[in-house]
Amino acid sequence: MTYIAKPKFHHPGLKKNELGYTHRDYEGKISTLCAGCGHDSITASIIEACYELSIEPHRVAKISGIGCSSKTPDYFLGNSHGFNSVHGRMPSVLTGANLANRDLIYLGVSGDGDSASIGFGQFAHSIRRGVNMTYIVENNGVYGLTKGQFSATADRGSKSKKGVTNTDNAIDLVAIALQLGATFVARSFSGDKSQLVPLIAAAIGHKGASFIDVISPCIAFNNHAGSTKSFDYVREHNDAVNRLDVLVGRDPIAVDYAPGTVQVVEQHDGSKIALRKIDADYDPHDRLGAQTFLAKHAAKGQIVTGLLYVDPDAEDLHEHLNTIETPLNTLEADTLCPGSAVLDKINASLR
């Protein structure tokens, strides 16, 4: 078997939400990602947010591209339909799904390779169209599934696992989303559950394109060449262990810090990132302000986290297209087909 089913028994005392669902109702299959992968923490936050919102799990459609991150929809909301599409094309598939049935909740999950390279165009266009969705990028700066190549969000000057220095400039998806007119833009860190859960919940509640960039450390491929702790090194030096064994014991990175402060986070490989949580008095309704704020702190080497921008009166694609309230996928011939009498008239006009 190449899948792992989760045991079905529940603890009778599990807490229930408004709909009477427990946490377990929001879970999916057991993750097959590396132990300690930031993506699993994001999965946990999605589960938590959906539980807290008392969402009916089956009313969510979870759509992804290809990559470790894009595998994660299998690990949450087991009772909802998932779609692991093709590399970088989650946004178009989600757009189509959303057009077909505006009544479901759409969760798009992608990676930085998926969204910032091959799917950069689709990312941009789904945002600019205002598709009603929560678009989460699980951003680890590398291609995880294909084993550690640079992604387009990797910082210039950073080093790959093989010791190669990245000479290309990084794409900041948050800055782009702001520029493209996204009506909900946030950044968070996979290990900061107290920040991420409410952000996801708010994004789901937002009508329009919500974008959350989540920094998510990759345990396997953000370590330097020559490191004696690297997976390759250990595998080469110890025949007895497999990949999972080696990585077991690596805890996911977690942080908890106050708004307005900077927290330096050490990743699995020892590299450090400076996260700045925005102040409580930051005004998230000012798009231009958000762009400036972001740029200012980026210049200081800080990654700003929090809800950067929201337009509470946003419209979505259905409003732009003036489509009917009834989901298009429920319409049948009686409402869709103009009928033979109209066709006779059309014929007459063509003679």
Binding site: T2, V86, L321, C337, S340, L343, I346
Partner: protein, 615 residues
């Protein structure tokens, strides 16, 4: 002075207009074709246009055909030479005994003419300049003036043209009267100064019947409306853009909720073809009928997603309006050159359903049927049009719709069925036809959800890389494709008057030329049974047809005889018995071409004693 007797023909000739793109001639030329139709005489017009917007040469050809031959004929009986750039080529293209109509405002040296044609000069520029001062008016009305002159030369009833002008400018009185005036300016000048009518004449007839005159792309778009498409995602590309544009226009007219005014459709101009097909797949996955329209380069880009549609079994409808490839090829010229690319689109082992309509009426029917097929088979269905049908007006039988018709939504497992405890395995072949059940997202709180993916999985949609599980799935897909054979439109066979060992296979827009070629071949003493293929996978009658004939010609409009390759590949037939007849210069294949190619081969085989060849 002509040294060849001028051609004399009533209701059977070809007029070609040579214009400069952007000169506004298109509507006057089309009106000429429509006016002949109003005389009850069938026409078959063709637009021959460059792949740029302004300045380059463009031609519009009208085949006037009492016998109703709708294929291109080849040759030009009358050239309306309005483009100095192409003058030499245009003059050279006139049949001996034919006519040259030109603007005689500026005198031309006699070397610019031919002795074996009749030259008709009308000082168009002089007439327009003396009547109009505005440059744009001068340009536009010049076209109507030559239309008027032609009406006199060809003995057409001016009332019928006035009627058409009246319909075109229904509520624009000023435009109406000024156009009618221009028409008579040209007509009167010709009547007063030229010997009217000439040898070519239009005489009232009753051969049009109740047939309609429509472009294939517009008919296909209407088919999508009638077939219940609610989502259309597309990216502009010639010659397919007019499908989406027509769908938009039809939807705006027929698809708004009368109470709220809201749209019962969603049309998105994608950022590219990848997004367009992605949107189609997402919408179809979620239970809406969705389609995209594109051409060759778009198909190339869509292939990864087409593979996903095949393997993950998601309905999709792609209308491919073929143009000459490879690469950008000749974007505004016609071909049937994406057969192989579509039949096996994407990596790995894939096979896709192709539909080949012959004319707009079938484009309408097949487009509507494509949505039923896509949902029934849960896969991509290609509607294979080409520029020749897609962007030209064709005379065809009226479009028909049965109001009792319901959409075939395929095998959908509903919440009630799940509640009953029906076993739901997304890729379970319950009925032995290879087609599994699917559920729409959001169907049931605890049952029927599954994970869609392009990776291998077992019958219950659980990810699996087991070789046997993968092979089991691939085998089922083969069964499904076999099921498709009996669902798609069957080939149509027409036998020769006498029994024959020779057959011909053809498809799509080749049809009218083929019908006419059969007549020409008969006069050369060649009898052939015909099989018009209307879909891939091939119905079993294709194999029977092949078995019943020693040689079968496969007529198609591409270099590599792609349909023939597909037949050889899928039917395991000895390729020697399939004789390729190909035409691929970007112009539509003609009856003359087919008859010559097949006739020469038949003569070579010495199957029948050579008779007096008439070509």
């Amino acid at each position: 002075m002509s040294d060849k007797k001028p051609i004399s023909s009533v209701n059977d000739f070809v007029v070609r207009f040579a214009n400069v793109n952007g000169s506004g001639s298109a509507s006057a030329n089309e009106m000429f074709a429509r006016a002949i139709l109003r005389h009850g005489v069938p026409v078959s017009p063709r637009n021959i246009f460059p792949s740029n917007i302004q300045g380059l040469p463009t031609w519009y050809e009208v085949r006037v055909t009492e016998d109703g031959h709708l294929g291109a004929r080849g040759g030009v009986d009358m050239m309306v030479a309005m483009n100095p750039q192409t003058w030499d080529k245009d003059v050279a293209g006139i049949e001996p005994g034919g006519y040259l109509f030109y603007d005689s405002t500026k005198p031309m040296p006699s070397t610019k003419f031919r002795d074996d044609i009749t030259v008709i000069g009308v000082p168009l520029t002089a007439i327009t300049n003396s009547t109009y001062t505005d440059p744009r008016q001068r340009q536009l009305f010049k076209n109507i003036i030559y239309l008027g002159a032609l009406s006199a030369l060809l003995d057409m009833d001016p009332k019928l043209i006035e009627q058409l002008i009246g319909e075109q400018y229904k509520s624009k009185e000023k435009l109406l009267s000024s156009n009618v005036h221009a028409l008579h300016l040209g007509r009167d000048w010709a009547l007063q100064n030229l010997k009217c009518p000439i040898g070519l004449r239009v005489k009232k007839s009753d051969k049009v019947g109740d047939r309609i005159f429509i472009e294939g792309n517009s008919a296909a778009a209407l088919g999508a409306v009638y077939g219940g498409a609610t989502v259309c995602a597309w990216y502009p590309i010639t010659p397919s853009s007019s499908v989406a544009e027509a769908f938009t226009a039809h939807c705006q007219k027929y698809r708004h909720d009368p109470e709220t005014g809201k749209a019962k459709y969603a049309i998105v101009q994608g950022e590219d073809e990848l997004a367009s097909i992605g949107i189609v797949i997402g919408a179809s996955w979620n239970g809406a009928r969705a389609f995209t329209a594109t051409s060759g380069p778009g198909i190339s880009l869509m292939t990864e997603f087409i593979g996903l549609s095949y393997f993950a079994e998601i309905p999709a409808v792609i209308m491919n309006i073929q143009r000459a490839g490879p690469s950008t090829g000749m974007p505004t010229r016609t071909q049937q050159c994406d057969i192989i690319a579509c039949a096996y689109a994407s990596h790995g082992d894939t096979k896709h359903v192709l539909l080949f309509p012959e004319d707009p009426a079938e484009a309408f029917e097949f487009a509507a049927a494509a949505f039923d097929l896509a949902e029934r088979l849960q896969t991509t269905i290609f509607l294979m049009l080409d520029l020749d049908i897609g962007m030209n007006h064709r005379l065809c039988r009226p479009l028909k719709w049965d109001d009792a018709r319901q959409y075939d939504r395929g095998k959908i497992m509903t919440a009630e069925m799940l509640e009953e405890g029906r076993d739901f395995g997304r890729y379970l072949d319950v009925d032995g036809d290879g087609i599994p059940y699917r559920t729409y997202p959001g169907t049931h709180p605890t049952k029927g959800s599954y994970f869609t993916r392009g990776t291998s999985r077992d019958r219950y949609a659980r990810y699996s890389e087991e070789g046997t599980v993968y092979a089991d799935n691939m085998q089922r897909l083969v069964r499904k494709f076999e099921t498709a054979q009996d669902l798609v439109p069957r080939p149509l066979q027409a036998n020769a008057e006498r029994p024959t060992k020779y057959g011909v296979i053809y498809f799509g827009s080749t049809s009218p030329a083929m019908d006419e070629a059969i007549g020409l071949l008969e006069t050369r003493g060649h009898q052939l049974d015909r099989l018009r293929i209307r879909a891939f996978p091939f119905h079993s009658s294709v194999a029977s047809f092949l078995a019943e004939h020693d040689f079968v010609y496969v007529v198609e409009q591409n270099r590599d005889s792609q349909l023939r390759q597909l037949i050889v590949n899928e039917n395991g037939i000895d390729p020697v018995r399939l004789v390729p007849i190909v035409h691929y210069d970007g112009s539509p294949i003609t009856a003359r071409y087919i008859a010559k190619a097949i006739g020469d081969h038949q003569d070579h085989l010495k199957v029948t004693p050579l008779r007096k060849a008439v070509s």
